[in-house]
Amino acid sequence: MIEAIDITKYYGDFPAVTGLSFSVEQGEILGFLGPNGAGKSTTMKILTGFIPPSSGTAKIAGFDITEQSLQARRHIGYLPETVPLYEDMNVRDYLSFMGQIRGMAKPQLHQRINEVIELCRLGEYRDTIIGKLSKGYRQRVGISQAILHEPDVLVLDEPTIGIDPIQVVETRQLIKDLGRDHTLILSSHILPEVSMICDRIIIIHEGQIVAVDDPGNLGTNLAGVERVEIEVKGPNREILPVLERVDGVQSIERMSVTGGAYHRYHVTVDIGKDLRHDLAKIIVEGGWELLKLQSLGMSLEEIFLRLTIEEEELPNNSGAVS
């Protein structure tokens, strides 16, 4: 239903997302988990056709987002992270407008608005001006417009951010219910949230997919690797086999060094293992000179530390109408 093919997005020189490929099957709920700045929102904006990818493409319900943008957009319901709404319209007029620009016919639209208002429990507020609603209720209006036209694909960008804990629980239940008859992609930086709601989880960090897994396995059985950079003075022929024998080392790449009497290696190691100590020890024992030993990029463990793992960290912001 959703297929991302090698999506890369540059903002100027800065790569926000690089080489992202994944697919979401019909009826599946995919969690897009990553710390702030990982590239979640950028990916959502590309999938929904708001911004074009620098390279690569995606297909929504079989339609290419760049070449058949209009058809692709017909199949999407989208809730952006900022929950943009027209402040001076009331809930019902707003939903009516959003339904019309999604091509819904008037009589059917009227009935569907009532259904959606019921489903998102907005009943008391149907005639309230949106600007007067609290964050939690604005979120519900945002979700209402996303599901109004019964799209095949739902894209929800951090749908529980900034609302109070009780509403968070309700919203998650609502999303889970929606997942029963939609293909759904949900981004979040909260680990328990995606484990609870999603069938499958993609962990994204610095614009790249670092792990794909079932919620049950997360944290225990992660796919992936990490790398260590080593610079050593000594004979390559002797050093290389020794390093390869270290337990946990998957492969070693010898990098070119310009004008230096040393060698530089990129050692790929099993995920979650910190081999820096072992590697240093074996080099020193071999009698070679260790010039540099550095972890390349962030390990998955470190990424996890930057995710919100505890529910208590949810910001509090209660009150129905402000």
Binding site: K45, T48, G49, F50, I51, P52, L70, Q71, R73, R74, I76, Y78, P80, T82, P84, L85, Y86, E87, D88, M89, D93, F97, M98, Q100, I101, R102, G103, Q145
Partner: protein, 237 residues
């Protein structure tokens, strides 16, 4: 087409349900009225609406950008443009739909000035021809000014900046004929041809020149086209 109508209706409702449109409209009517009355109360004033349409045209330069400034700027500021552009709606439907709403708004403000025309007919015996041509000129000028306002609104998420940019462009188009006296020959002719004011003067004198009509409609076309392009390239920024 359905999208366009939905957008026009939404914006029109928006105009009539917010006080700012009424305030701006009233200001326009009062200013136009005051200057017009000042003109016709001079000795030997002719019975006609020439002064009225001249002043109305002058104030449209400031009125039109105030009407259009929120149309696209607010969508960018609130982020609602993201939902609009990810709906199955084309950029031209958005621009044209909003433009039509602003045109309806301007027409309703302008139609109130007919009250002054009624007064002129009540107290005098004006030539009907120039009255009609003056109003045609006024509507065409308004249409062009709103299109320029749309471009201003597409360029920024800040309504003030949008209005200032549009007013600046409009002032250039209005008064560029003053520059033509500084240069000679073809250049002067070209500059004169670009100017709105020299053409508006013809309308208020009772002359309906086809080239003037084509001129104003071209401005509408060009600036709406630029607004659409500006909205399209928003995605790429």
């Amino acid at each position: 087409m359905k999208n366009l109508i939905a957008i026009t209706l939404k914006e029109t409702k928006g105009y009539f349900s917010t006080p700012s449109a009424y305030i701006v409209g009233t200001m326009f009517l009062v200013l136009t009225g005051v200057f017009f009355v000042f003109d016709v109360s001079k000795p030997f004033a002719e019975a006609g609406v020439r002064g009225l349409s001249d002043w109305a045209s002058f104030f449209i330069v400031f009125l039109a950008p105030l009407i259009t400034m929120k149309l696209l700027a607010e969508e960018q500021k609130l982020g609602t443009l993201e939902l609009l552009l990810t709906s199955p709606v084309r950029e031209w439907e958005i621009v044209l739909g909003k433009y039509l709403a602003s045109f309806l708004m301007l027409l309703s403000i302008q139609s109130v000035t007919l009250y002054y025309v009624f007064i002129v007919y009540f107290f005098g015996n004006p030539d009907t021809g120039p009255v009609i041509s003056a109003y045609i000129g006024l509507v065409l000028h308004g249409a062009a000014a709103l299109a320029i306002g749309m471009l201003g609104s597409s360029l920024s998420g800040n309504q003030i900046i949008s209005a200032v940019v549009a007013t600046a462009i409009l002032l250039i188009f209005s008064f560029i004929n003053r520059v033509s006296s500084l240069v000679e020959g073809n250049v002067a002719e070209f500059i004169n041809a670009l100017s709105m004011n020299s053409r508006l003067a013809d309308f208020s004198r009772g002359i309906i020149d086809l080239s003037h009509i084509v001129y104003f409609l071209s401005i509408v076309g060009v600036f709406l086209f630029l607004s659409i392009r500006s909205l399209e390239t928003r995605r790429w920024r």
